[in-house]
């Protein structure tokens, strides 16, 4: 079985958000990590590899430094890493990103493609389903459990108040939830392999069956009209009182607002 896992290097927004003096996000000062949903997708692929035997290729699109995240994946147990990087791919929205990744995947043999449900920087959850559409294969989003049975996958697909057990013939694309599993740590042997590993680097010319008009900023149907830092409504009153005073304070406010 051949599995392609799409991963993304993202700024770590949890806890360590840093701002420039002008109030914009200081991305350079923020740590980067492998996107959590993608890491769960990689872990799922590695478990399938252990159970059924598989070759796991990790694929990312990004700046040259995104190579780090491929090496991390190899240190966890992935077999090969491919970095798609090219100036003309910059500024891509989800349409152009999914076209790029589909163009890269067309060069590969695959039974299963796994992506994370969504990345913590954009939070769109669009790229996985869009890749599947470009490749004309089924998609199962929000996977909370993945099994293989013959030439099919059996997947638990999460919804708000239920889950569906779905069966799809491979090739198929699955988007993984971070809740799917607890990703493993890199092993010392894996880190050694990862340092030596040859990362394949592809540019625009290596993408198969994709027109220029579908790539990068120019190929993106959506355009940013404006971006700004979130304006919070601002703090109200803050008081430090003993317990019984606190109760009277809250009760007073609830009455003032006609809640009680």
């Amino acid at each position: 079985m051949k599995i392609v896992v799409c991963i993304k290097q993202v700024p770590d927004t949890k806890g360590g958000v840093k701002f420039n003096p002008d109030g914009t996000l200081d991305r350079a000062a923020m740590m980067t990590i492998m996107n959590p949903d993608d890491k769960a997708g990689l872990e799922a692929a590695l478990r399938l590899k252990e159970k059924y035997g598989a070759e796991v290729t990790v694929l990312t699109m990004g700046l040259p430094k995104a190579e780090d995240v491929l090496r991390e994946a190899i240190a966890m147990g992935a077999d090969k890493g491919i970095l798609v990087t090219d100036r003309v791919l910059g500024g891509a929205d989800t349409w152009a990103t999914s076209q790029t990744l589909a163009g890269a995947i067309r060069n590969l043999e695959y039974d299963l493609i796994i992506t994370g449900r969504q990345a913590i920087d954009g939070d769109t959850a669009q790229v996985g389903p869009q890749i599947s559409e470009h490749l004309n294969i089924p998609v199962i989003s929000y996977a909370q459990k993945i099994e293989v049975e013959g030439d099919s996958v059996i997947v638990e697909r999460q919804y708000d108040d239920r889950y569906h057990v779905l069966k799809a013939k491979m090739p198929c694309l699955i988007t993984a939830l971070a809740e799917l599993n607890e990703p493993r740590y890199m092993t010392p042997g894996g880190i050694f392999d990862a340092c030596k590993a040859e990362i394949t680097v592809w540019g625009r010319a290596d993408l198969k069956d994709v027109e220029d008009s579908n790539l990068g900023l120019k190929g993106s149907p959506t355009q940013i009209a404006k971006a700004s830092d979130k304006v919070r409504k601002g703090a109200g009153e803050k008081v430090t009182l003993d317990a019984s005073e606190s109760v009277d304070y809250i009760l007073g406010k609830l009455k003032e607002k006609h809640i009680v």
């Binding site: 927004t13 089924p138 708000d160 779905l166 069966k167 149907p221 919070r232 703090a235 008081v239 317990a243």
Partner: protein, 347 residues
């Protein structure tokens, strides 16, 4: 693509088990605002099996027209037949704007449809309006009018971006549930229904449903609650949520929680407020022992009144709270509940 051919505001009327999801009414409500600004109408697209009877309910919340795509293949949600249904409606009717709820269904369906018809899709919008793009004129670039401007949070709620889709139609957005306002229901409204079936032929993209497993839940949906008593890691244990449940009971409210509480296994995910949980806007939100991570704030800061109780005076929750109390929840909550009970009894 001749953009001028595309007219009207369309919304996907999501139903599950032949019950229309509240998001459909919210989208119609917002769609009416947009349609009024554009001088056009709102059409709801109802997709399912034996769903025609639900059309009047969509009219009651303001849909000018309802397109019903009814087929046995559409009984349970599956990506492919639903994507085929919507893509076919778009090809035939050429809407200018198409809105879908940012639900576990819509966030799968929206991208598949937008990729099929080659247009842009803006995810998880919290604000939609009609305006110019670029917003301010730029020399040498045409400023287009009557564009859909879609605003959404990014970077875990740290930034907000406004997105346009000037050169492709329809302009598509998924919209965060609980954010847009429904219109008042007009009892007895009759829908102007048009039936459309593009034909459904199973192929490799049709997945098979082996089993449907429904979560057993008798709790109130926190998105519908007027008063929420929400707990975070500071509550300390699953057992200690009793303090919050008691307060919620006397206030006629519901208990919700932060992500940390779900991660700790104290409460189920259905009760989680925040970026990866639900967006709520109750009349009153009690944040108890919640530090206020940015992802949590993104899900509750639109609440009318926010009261925060936390022992850490530097907790970011105080930055959005209308009333912040620095103190011990274990002492304050029981006393507050008692006093409220006593006041109730006195009436």
């Amino acid at each position: 693509m001749n953009l001028a051919e595309y007219k009207g505001v369309y919304v996907f009327a999501q139903q599950v088990d032949n019950v229309i999801n509240s998001i459909a009414f919210e989208l119609i409500g917002k769609g009416k605002d947009l349609a009024e600004a554009l001088g056009t109408e709102v059409t709801a697209v109802l997709v399912g099996s034996d769903v025609k009877g639900l059309a009047d309910e969509l009219a009651a919340y303001g849909a000018d027209k309802v397109i019903v795509v009814d087929d046995p293949e559409l009984k349970e949600y599956r990506t492919e037949p639903y994507a085929h249904a919507l893509a076919s409606v778009i090809e035939k009717y050429k809407p200018e704007i198409f809105l879908v709820g940012a639900t576990a269904i819509g966030r799968d369906l929206g991208p598949r449809v937008s990729a099929r018809i080659h247009t842009g899709l803006t995810a998880d919008c919290t604000q939609l309006e009609i305006g110019d793009f670029p917003i301010n004129p730029i020399p040498g670039k045409e400023q287009k009018h009557n564009q859909l401007l879609m605003t959404r949070p990014a970077f875990g709620g740290n930034t907000i971006a406004t997105i346009a889709c000037p050169d492709f139609r329809p302009q598509m957005a998924t919209v965060r549930p609980g954010v847009m306002q429904k219109r008042d229901k007009v009892e007895g409204a009759k829908a102007n229904v048009e039936e459309f079936n593009p034909g459904f032929t199973p192929d490799n993209k049709y997945v098979e449903i082996l089993e449907v497993v429904k979560a057993v839940s008798d709790t109130v949906d926190i998105m519908d609650a007027k008063i929420l008593v929400s707990g975070g890691r500071g509550v300390g244990s699953a057992e200690n949520f009793k303090l919050l449940e008691d307060l919620a009971e006397v206030l006629g409210g519901t208990v919700s929680c932060s992500r940390a509480v779900v991660d700790a296994g104290w409460k189920v995910k259905d009760l989680q407020v925040g970026q990866t949980g639900k967006t709520v806007r109750p009349n009153l939100y009690f944040a108890v022992g919640i530090s206020g991570a940015i992802q949590h704030l993104a899900g509750m800061e639109e609440s009318d009144i926010i009261i925060a109780i936390n022992k850490d005076e530097t907790a970011p929750i105080f930055d959005v709270a209308d009333y912040g109390i620095v103190g011990d929840l274990n002492k304050i909550l029981p006393a507050l509940t008692e006093k409220l009970k006593a006041e109730k009894a006195a009436k």
